[in-house]
Symmetry: C2
Subunit: 548 residues, 2 copies
Amino acid sequence: MGDALGEDLLAAVVVGVLLIPQSLAYALLAGLPPQAGLYASLLPLIAYAAFGSSRVMGVGPVAVLALMISQALADAPAGVAPHDAALVLAAEVAVLLALAAGWRLDALAALLSVPVLQGFETGAALSIALSQLPVLLGSSAHGSSLLQVIDSWRHAAVPWWPLTAVYGVAALVALWLAKAPLLRGLERLMPAWRAQAMTRLAPLGVLLAAIGVAAATQAGGRGVDLVGSLPSLEWPLGWPPLDLALWRELLPSAALIALVCFVSSLVVAESLARHDGMRIDPRRELAGLAAANAAAAIGGGMPVAGSFTRSVVNRQAGARTRMAGVFTALWMALAILVLARPLALLPTAVLAATILAAVAAVFDVRPFREAWRYSRVEGALMAVVAGLTLVQGVAWALAVGVAGSIALLLQRTARPHVALIGRVPGTEHYRNVGRHQVELTPGVLGLRIDESLLFINARQLADVVQQQLAGHPETRRIVLLMSPVNRIDFSGLTALRALHELLRARGIRLDLSEVKGPVLDGLRDGGWSAWFDGKVFLSHHQAMHEDG
Amino acid sequence: MGDALGEDLLAAVVVGVLLIPQSLAYALLAGLPPQAGLYASLLPLIAYAAFGSSRVMGVGPVAVLALMISQALADAPAGVAPHDAALVLAAEVAVLLALAAGWRLDALAALLSVPVLQGFETGAALSIALSQLPVLLGSSAHGSSLLQVIDSWRHAAVPWWPLTAVYGVAALVALWLAKAPLLRGLERLMPAWRAQAMTRLAPLGVLLAAIGVAAATQAGGRGVDLVGSLPSLEWPLGWPPLDLALWRELLPSAALIALVCFVSSLVVAESLARHDGMRIDPRRELAGLAAANAAAAIGGGMPVAGSFTRSVVNRQAGARTRMAGVFTALWMALAILVLARPLALLPTAVLAATILAAVAAVFDVRPFREAWRYSRVEGALMAVVAGLTLVQGVAWALAVGVAGSIALLLQRTARPHVALIGRVPGTEHYRNVGRHQVELTPGVLGLRIDESLLFINARQLADVVQQQLAGHPETRRIVLLMSPVNRIDFSGLTALRALHELLRARGIRLDLSEVKGPVLDGLRDGGWSAWFDGKVFLSHHQAMHEDG
């Protein structure tokens, strides 16, 4: 225990060093005052530690959510302070995630298929980079989608500000050097672990250096945009504004943010858990994220999610238990007290550089190549979602992506596969006529239904069976082998009944074989005995030779 | 041929008798001038006969579409004539259905599961009845949803008009008597077929009687609302207004109407075809409905679909070929020329009675009982869709219904079923350990995946396998029996790769057996050899004893 405590404390310091610049930067990206990011890194960490299922996940402000918040705030009614709107968003996200946990809606995560998620992440990374370019170069332009930024830049009063651009570009170069090149250089001078620790300190170093230079040269007086003084650091507990119209206005955005928050955090948690051979409980994850966002809402923060970078760093730094998160929160509180004044002098261009460096690490075209190679249409969907995210915003991109995934699924599974099966000579096994040498029984058609009977394919059942019948006009009995049917919904039941009536009208009897236990129970409870006049056989062989 | 021609001609007359009052009534229900209904029963019939796949389906104005049109027109921009908007709707429906035919989107029909369709039809029947009550009683109230009608009635200048109500209620009673009671009475006096033919003439008889009484008593001068004179009956061919803003405004409504038009017509066509042992080609059906709606758009009509009542009557009256539809159209043209003047004197309350009698025949609570008995949640969905249709309108009801169906499907299939399988002693067959007496191979875990690996369940694959592993910690090799896997999408491929990496990290080899041909081809094309280092076996038995 004592050992774990020490390791957790060390991990907390390392993560905190990463968290301070990121918190400030993501608040900037979301269009919120810097303290929103800092406070979102305090209570939510503790709340997640109390309810969440991952031991090492770092919860707090993340880039993708910040982008979505900035887009939601752009649509918010005029006259509402952005930070108030962000608190309402966090509260709504908390409520939605809690409801999802209560109603077992974790399966909704499946709505975001890999092509949609990957396309969205790439598009979001590009959008984030794009939205930070004006800040990096000292322009007065702003926006969170391609067209907005271009339009805003064309009409910008200040297209760029050379001194600001110097800070921004210098910080970007320093952060780039601090990755691979610095690590390689340091590894020649010292043990690898110490070199890695030094490298991790680099972002904070760049920040402190920028603050030092900005203070010494009076950058603020020369037109360089600074973070500016934080409000007095009192305990920010309080309810988000209870303005019903505002809550209703923001609800659709909150629903999207909640979905992305859950799915992206789940991906992080699962990836971490798999490495350690652990399992993640999605419902507990929902509860943990709901608690974290509730804490953000009453703690003066902004909507939060699990961060991949910080979680990996947390684990690598040796975090052993949930206490690492609590320690990180305490360390952040201390840092806010100590750093409030110096942070006021930090040029925002340096924060923009931090964001650009972070998203550059995420950007990757390999998944597009792989998806395209495996399935043209799924690769195209990925590209469309990425493009829409960049051009039209997150809401459109996700809506089109989810609708596209479902359309593909329907298109591909709409026709139930029904195979004509015959007896493998000398055995009691029945196989697909098209793929094996088998014997048919004259007058009796054995068909295997290869899908559950659900609304997406049920309507086609009668048609598929009729197609088989057309090739065997002498049929007087059909036996459906039901072993691959895992489920029959009400639409499937209706289709089975329609098939039964169609066959009866043609003087053909319909029997079933090897119906799974739960499926048969369901049919009986549903009162099928009122209309079904066939038999149900335990084995298909028995069914085929019933009257032979 | 000569014989079929005669039968088709007779069927045309019988259907025409039904079609005239229905055309007028559904135009009234849609909030359109009466000629919209009449013209929608002319060219569309011929266009469908040319392109559609059903021989006997009667295409024209239908009640459910009329309700949807009236709701779409309520949202249309002010200053647009309702009939112009209806022509735009018909044109858009035609374009959407033609695109669906071209892009093979007939699978989208699967979006409307039986609970949604049934709930929608019942809710629509109630809404239609409700919207006609004010007309029947001579009130100035109007509306197409529960709240609208109640609100409008509370503030109506004329809550009811006694003389109008007399016409309405008398017509309703006459129509009710004309069904079962009249048929039973006539069957005592004459052969059954002649009694049925007489009964079918009753609605037209009620109309003609009402016109006669209204003309004799000068009902129009006493405050009874009449159909009013039709515009000069010139050939109404022309393009719908090409107002881009209007087209954009109406597009969402048109998409819904197109979906309902296709699905409801498909249900009618399939039900007719099954009785005759024929098959319906959904894409030709799309093409036929697209042509019919295009004809309605340029022929001064309104959006059209297949009518269940008229199709059944058409077949019972002896329609043999598509020519029956063409003859019905010609007969309608003749009737319009002859009846234009007398129709002007028809009280609208009598048309309202025609609609009420038609929807009363459709209303049925049995499907609700059956669905509730089979599946509580599907029964509840059906009731919710019916209630929403009545209270909030068609768009909301269908949106919630489709989302609910998909959510249920995801909820139920989100977890791939993975069974631990063992050898049936003395054979080469492998069955579920939980259901059969089988032998396990020490150190080798045989798992059967019982679903295709698709985005809705792929994310859970690793978790499900890990769960099995937890019970068999000594495992050094896992063989996945892939015979039930019909499809692997990109999300499934990603999940398979994640599982492979997870197992490799734990020193466990992953092999596959009995992979279906197309699935294996897809994996190879997708470049899986770059990361997969297991083997693929033709038979599971071979795979289990590879190193034994």
